[in-house]
Symmetry: C2
Subunit: 124 residues, 2 copies
């Protein structure tokens, strides 16, 4: 399942996700690949995003406004979602770690989201 073969397109998608801080959607990645690969298909983008996520090279931030957003930064960090423009920003502090053994729950990771208005949207 792990990406074993060479795939210039998958490499380019990964590289783009590492460069960018916008937590793009599949559609956005697709659009931003068209300059380099004019004939790339949306299916290829979805497939490669899924493979990269399975390989642990990227993360899925979550679904906002009906679209899944991806992150090339796999480190533990919180996210801020602007409810006005839909932008997703990194938010410094890592989510709190929970003691794994409580009540029989095996906690593997956590995600912390802040919601509100980003500087652009509240005119600051």
């Amino acid at each position: 399942m792990t990406a074993r073969n060479n795939s210039k397109k998958r490499d380019a998608i990964l590289r783009r996700l590492k460069e960018v801080r916008t937590h793009p959607s599949a559609e956005y990645v697709y659009m931003s690949m068209k300059s380099e690969f004019p004939s790339i298909s949306l299916g290829t983008v979805y497939r490669n995003l899924a493979q990269l996520r399975e390989a642990g090279l990227i993360k899925s931030v979550g679904i906002f406004g009906g679209e899944e957003r991806f992150d090339g930064d796999t480190s533990d960090h919180a996210h801020f979602i602007c409810e006005s423009c839909g932008a997703v920003h990194d938010f410094g502090e890592p989510p709190p770690v929970f003691s794994a053994a409580s009540d029989g729950f095996r906690v593997e990771r956590s995600e912390l989201f802040y919601y509100g208005s980003c500087p652009e949207c509240c005119g600051g």
Copy 2:
């Protein structure tokens, strides 16, 4: 937009969501209403869930496994999502409050999620 009229179905949906701790999906609410209202439509469930959420009487927990999950408990609390069976549990501690003024972001609320395996799924 706020629910002004009496609607036995909307009332029943709200009552069910207050009783239950399973954070049900629209589909589940629909199914669980069919005994009391055999002719209820899925559209009615979606419409009433949206109205109840807009009125602040219920909350949307998030989208997991492609389905939006709802919560009749509108108090601030974290959630645990079982990645094996999809169950959503309340998780006692409230999410940390973030200082609202940082860097021009207006933070209105936060959501904290834990992911892992629930007691049923890890055999405890």
